[in-house]
Symmetry: C2
Subunit: 244 residues, 2 copies
C-alpha cells in the first residue's frame, strides 16, 4: 500500500492567494503539519484537523513526522509558506522519502514571494531573473557571494529572500556592496516589500544607493532591477523590450 | 476619476490553479482581454463577458485596448498565462500607463511555469535559481548567452522558458552547449515538463547530455539542476543543504 503525502505551498498567507488545488488537498487531509506560524496563518478553517508542528530548525524532524503519520494511515499535508519548492521543504521530503518506500510525496505549488512581492511593486521580474537567499544557515556565505556576483554580471533582475535577521543585520548591506562592486550603479532601480500577504503590507521603491542604507526585517523581500529597469509612477518596472 | 485595470496571472491553465483573488477580479470585470489561447483556457465560465483579443505580436495594441475600454467606464482585466509579471504584459501595461494618467494598473500574481513545472518534476528550484527565456524576439541573443554563462558560473538551478519554436528549433541545443562549455557536466541532473496545467502534461528527468539531444516544443519548460541536484526515485531534487 502506498501512502500519499502532499507538500503544499500556501502562498503568501491570505486565503485568497492560495490555489483551490492547495485548499482542497488541505481540506481532505487528516493531519496538517507545519511551522507554527504557518499553521496560525491557516486560521480557524482547519481547527478540526490534527495540527502538528516541530520547533524552528527541526525541519528534518517535521518531515519525518509526516512519514510516520502517513504510515498510521492518515492523510497528511505538510504546509510551507509561498511555494513548497522555493526554499521550502519539498526537496528535504523527497530526499528523506528514499527511506520510506511505501510513501509517495507530491508537491503542490503556491505563489512565492518573488511573484507576490513583484506584483505589489509593479513588474520588477518581467525579464530574466534570479532568486537568491542571503541566509547562510544552510549555505556557505562564499556561495551566496558567488551567486550575487554572477547575478550582477548576467544583468539579471534579482529577488532577494531572507535579506536580514537579528544575527545577520548587515547582510543586505554586504550584498548591496558586492553587487555595486560588480557593476550595479548607485541609481539602479530597486524596491522591497514587507509582510506580503499579511497585515501591514508595505511596498517601496528606491535606488540601490538608498537600499544600501536601508534596514529591513526578516519578513522582507528585496528586488533589484536589471540595467533596463525604471521606476515609473512609483512602480518598479523591468521592461521586456517592446518598442513603444 | 481613476479607472482601475487589472493585469491578471491565470496560472498554468487549470481553474484549480488560479487563485481566488484572480478569479474574483475576472468575475467582477466587464471586459476580459487576452491572447486568444488564454481566453479559450478560461472556458465557458466567462462567456457572459466582453472577451477581446488582438493577434500574436500585437501586444502593444492589446494593452492599449485595455486603456481605451477602461476609459469607456468598463471594468477591465488583461489576462496572462502563468504570472502576469514573468514574461507577461505587466511591465508593458505599466510603461504605457504613463500616457493614461486617469488609469491605474494593478498586477495580480499567478503561478508561473517555473513553480508549477518544478512541482511536477519534484523540487528542482529548491535553492537559488534563475529564470531565463531563450526567445530572441525581444532580446538580443548575445544577452541571452551572457545570462546562460552567468547562471552556469553562479551554480544556479535554472528554469528555461521558451526553449524552442518552429523558427528556433536548435536554441535549446545551443543553450546546453553554452552551459556545458561553462562547467555544467554531462551528467548534470535536468528535467522538462510539457503542457503544464493542460491536457497531456508530461514530466521527464534526464541528464544534460541527454537534454542536449532532446527536441522540445514551445509548450515546454526546461529545468537544469545545480551542482548539488540529484535525480531521486525519478524526481529532480535540488537540495537545500540539510544534514541527513
Amino acid at each position: 500500500m502506498c501512502h500519499e503525502i502532499y507538500v503544499v505551498g500556501m502562498g503568501p498567507g491570505e486565503e485568497s492567494m492560495m490555489t483551490p488545488q492547495a485548499m482542497q488537498i488541505l481540506e481532505k487531509s487528516d493531519v496538517i503539519i507545519g511551522y507554527t506560524v504557518y499553521l496560525k496563518l491557516l486560521g480557524e478553517r482547519f481547527s478540526n484537523k490534527e495540527l502538528l508542528s516541530t520547533p524552528m530548525k527541526q525541519e528534518k524532524e517535521r518531515c519525518q513526522l509526516c512519514f510516520e503519520k502517513a504510515r498510521e494511515g492518515k492523510r497528511v499535508s505538510l504546509i510551507c509558506s509561498g511555494d513548497a519548492g522555493v526554499y521550502g521543504l519539498a526537496s528535504l521530503m523527497l530526499e528523506l522519502g528514499k527511506d520510506y518506500e511505501d510513501c509517495n510525496v507530491t508537491v503542490i505549488p503556491g505563489i512565492t514571494a518573488a511573484n507576490s512581492g513583484a506584483a505589489l511593486l509593479g513588474a520588477p521580474l518581467n525579464h530574466d531573473f534570479c532568486v537568491i537567499s542571503l541566509s547562510d544557515l544552510l549555505t556557505p556565505w562564499e556561495r551566496i557571494e558567488k551567486r550575487l556576483i554572477a547575478a550582477a554580471e548576467g544583468d539579471f533582475a534579482i529577488a532577494v529572500y531572507n535579506p536580514s535577521s537579528r544575527k545577520r543585520a548587515d547582510y543586505l548591506e554586504r550584498a548591496c556592496r558586492i553587487l555595486m562592486e560588480h557593476g550595479i550603479e548607485p541609481d539602479r532601480a530597486c524596491g522591497y516589500v514587507e509582510n506580503i500577504g499579511r497585515d501591514h503590507t508595505c511596498a517601496k521603491t528606491l535606488t540601490m544607493a538608498e537600499l544600501l542604507h536601508t534596514e529591513v526585517n526578516m519578513f522582507t523581500t528585496v528586488f533589484i532591477g536589471n540595467s533596463q529597469s525604471e521606476i515609473i509612477d512609483g512602480k518598479l518596472v523591468t521592461k521586456r523590450g517592446y518598442r513603444l
